[in-house]
């Protein structure tokens, strides 16, 4: 019964809030129905992780990358928050500042602000803060160093075990 109620609520919220509810909160987990994955959040509040994932996409938006890559890139913070109180405090303060800015301007939390440009405007207000700098600096490695994202950019990665490109197109350009 209550499960149905919850599902209905989720559906309604999803419908009302539009695109940003691709990622929904269920207990201590984030669920992504469209991409069929869930992420258990152990140390941070799941709402915070949802904000961090949204923020990650807004910092490095690639429309051809699924949300899960941003979630993978950010999940390390949940682990770190469990072992490092300073990191946890920095994340909690940072996310709540960002959400406050969003509520003041748009009356909703950061992740529920409709347009990327509006969220980016909020990020610009905090881009010199340690919170933003830390998240961006970590993300540039944790996002682009996932081997699974490389194919979306055409990058082929390791080649020595395949004999390099000597007979695999090192000079195959034809359009010049």
């Amino acid at each position: 019964m209550s499960g149905n109620d919850n599902a209905n609520k989720l559906d309604r919220r999803q419908f009302l809030a539009g695109v940003s509810t691709a990622l929904i909160i269920s207990g201590a987990a984030l669920i992504h129905p469209a991409e069929a994955w869930g992420l258990e959040v152990k140390n941070l509040k799941p709402e915070m992780m949802r904000t961090l994932i949204k923020m990650a996409r807004d910092i490095y938006p690639h429309d051809r990358l699924a949300d899960r890559f941003y979630a993978v890139a950010m999940k390390g913070y949940d682990e770190k928050a469990g072992s490092d109180a300073a990191t946890r405090a920095m994340l909690e303060t940072g996310v709540s500042t960002l959400d406050e800015l969003a509520r003041k301007k748009h009356r909703v939390a950061y992740a529920d602000v409709d347009w990327e440009a509006e969220r980016v405007a909020l990020l610009h207000q905090i881009e010199n803060d340690k919170f933003f700098q830390t998240v961006r600096g970590g993300l540039v490695v944790s996002l682009y160093n996932q081997k699974e994202v490389w194919s979306a950019f055409g990058y082929e990665g390791e080649s020595a075990s395949k004999g390099g490109y000597m007979s695999r197109g090192f000079d195959d350009i034809t359009w010049l």
Partner: protein, 523 residues
């Protein structure tokens, strides 16, 4: 095979560092029957240990010990604790270098004479000329198997080269080819030919690229006169009452302090650690640091005028395939002050993988302007711009007592400000590079700022007069007769060319000098 010398053996030459300078010197000396101990701070990896993965390889090979930075250079903002991207391993930065092997031009040995007095620049003529170095350049090219010398054919051009060459031809450049590269285009010296793997910076998995790790060092070891001690971090050079170097204190792989006695000490720790070690070796006799009566130790730090241009096209390039730097345009290398700056620069093909492109294209940038550039990665072509920068006394490596390494010693602080000439050259070079790509239809170009320094030069410069520099024309310090500078720290000025060939040539020449002086019992 490899020798094993006693810590108390005071007849050995101790070389600190095993890269282009130290590694070459060790082989040249041991071939002459001279006993050598190399103290190398990093571990010994072999070819099979290298990984085709940028961040993993960086974790394996890079010098990551704490350093600090200061000054107006952008590296200070973007990478405050990583002024230089160099290697901490046996073979030093010859493990990750790209292989470009260019001789200096004649005028680059006498810039004070040719360029005249440039405000705020500490220009000085080298105490040697191109003519002095030519025979050693020839030996180095043969030793390293440089393409387009000694009858060795050039490497085949990859996609990134073809874009560069086509664009360069369209804008009228004439000196364009696949470079003079210390990478085998055909089997030579027991090593195979380039397999176009594309990870030159991560350690060559085929061994086609020259590195002291698998050429000079094993050859030296075969003489039975060379002992390499990896994970041995030198912290102090000791001297006797007469001011002669007598040994080196270092921490071994177990963190235990050791003291190797020496007849001669040669420092080749790259241009940040070399001056740091001299400064750390201060004593009552040498209160400003060893061999620093001139006050020039650490000064005139140079890192080349660098920058990159990446361009996106409407069709794929796949620049990462194949030899990273086998492509050069040399038309801008001459000194032509009409361009608004003295000195010149080279344009060389460059590619980094997606992970490093994200980190280095525009460090700190975010949002769609940045990510749309990365979305074009497959259609991207890239070049590196490398030119002569102006030596400045205030560009300087000093000890930072506020930051300590794991031995409790002050780390190096690297202060750097671009000179007006560097800025003017970079601006021109970014424009010239963009023009090359626009000539072949680039839809967007990116004038990319300098990376952490790979070419670290100066800081113990050669000079005719002991007042003006740290060492003489053989790298022998003016103050301590049996102490030598054996790396790029010796450079009086930087030239426009990638420095490795010159470092190797100077090491061959220095070995000859040391052997002669030892024979005459002068040292």
């Amino acid at each position: 095979m490899a020798a094993k010398f006693d810590l108390t053996d005071d007849t050995v030459v101790v070389i600190i560092g095993s890269g282009a300078g130290g590694g070459t010197l060790s082989n040249e000396l041991s071939q002459r029957g001279i006993k050598v101990v190399i103290l190398e701070a990093g571990p010994r990896y072999e070819i099979e240990d290298f990984v085709n993965d940028e961040w993993e390889s960086f974790g394996q090979l890079a010098w990551k010990d704490m350093r600090t930075t200061a000054g107006s250079w952008r590296v200070h903002r973007d990478f405050p604790n990583l002024p230089a991207w160099i290697v901490k391993a046996v073979g030093g930065s010859t493990v990750h270098w790209a292989g470009a092997s260019l001789r200096f031009q004649e005028h680059e040995f006498k810039t004070r004479t040719v360029y005249g007095a440039i405000q705020d620049a500490n220009l000085m003529d080298w105490p040697i000329t191109l003519k002095d170095l030519e025979p050693y350049y020839a030996k180095a090219e043969d030793k390293m198997g440089v393409t387009r010398t000694n009858g060795i054919p050039g490497l085949p051009g990859n996609n990134n080269f073809k874009v560069l060459a086509t664009g360069a031809a369209k804008v009228g450049y004439k000196q364009v080819h696949t470079g003079r590269m210390a990478i085998n285009s055909q089997p030579r010296d027991g090593r195979g030919s380039c397999q176009q793997i594309g990870f030159c910076f991560q350690g060559c998995k085929s061994g086609a690229k020259w590195s002291t790790l698998y050429t000079e060092i094993p050859k030296g070891e075969e003489t039975g006169k060379l002992e390499v001690r990896p994970e041995s971090h030198a912290v102090r050079i000791e001297h006797d009452a007469a001011g002669k170097a007598i040994g080196v204190v270092y921490f071994d792989k177990d963190g235990k302090q050791q003291r190797q006695k020496a007849r001669i000490v040669c420092v080749a720790g790259n241009s940040i650690e070399t001056p740091r070690l001299l400064l750390l070796s201060e004593s009552s006799k040498f209160p400003n640091g060893l061999a620093n009566s001139s006050g020039q130790v650490g000064r005139n730090y140079m890192r080349h005028m660098t920058g990159s241009v990446y361009a996106v096209f409407d069709k794929p390039v796949r620049m990462w395939r194949g030899t990273t730097m086998a492509g050069i345009v040399s038309d801008e290398a001459a000194n032509n002050p009409q361009r608004g700056f003295v000195g010149g620069f080279e344009m060389e093909t460059l590619s980094v993988g997606l992970p490093f492109m994200a980190a280095f294209l525009d460090p700190g940038a975010w949002g769609r302007e940045f990510t749309s550039a990365l979305d074009g990665y497959e259609n991207m072509s890239g070049m590196w711009l490398v030119g002569e920068d102006m030596p400045q006394a205030s560009n300087r490596v000093t000890l930072n007592p506020a930051a300590k390494d794991k031995w409790g010693l002050a780390v190096a602080n690297v202060h750097f400000d671009d000179h007006q000439n560097d800025i003017a050259m970079r601006k021109y070079a970014h424009k010239a590079g963009s023009a090359v790509y626009e000539a072949v239809g680039a839809t967007r170009t990116f004038p990319t700022p300098p990376y952490p320094s790979t070419h670290n030069l100066g800081t113990c410069r050669m000079s005719e007069n002991p007042r003006d520099g740290v060492c003489n024309k053989f790298g022998q310090t003016h103050d301590v007769r049996n102490l030598f500078i054996s790396d790029g720290s010796q450079f009086t000025t930087g030239g426009a060319e990638n420095p490795t060939l010159t470092i190797v040539s100077l090491a061959i020449r220095q070995a000859e000098y040391i052997a002669n002086e030892m024979g005459k019992k002068n040292i």
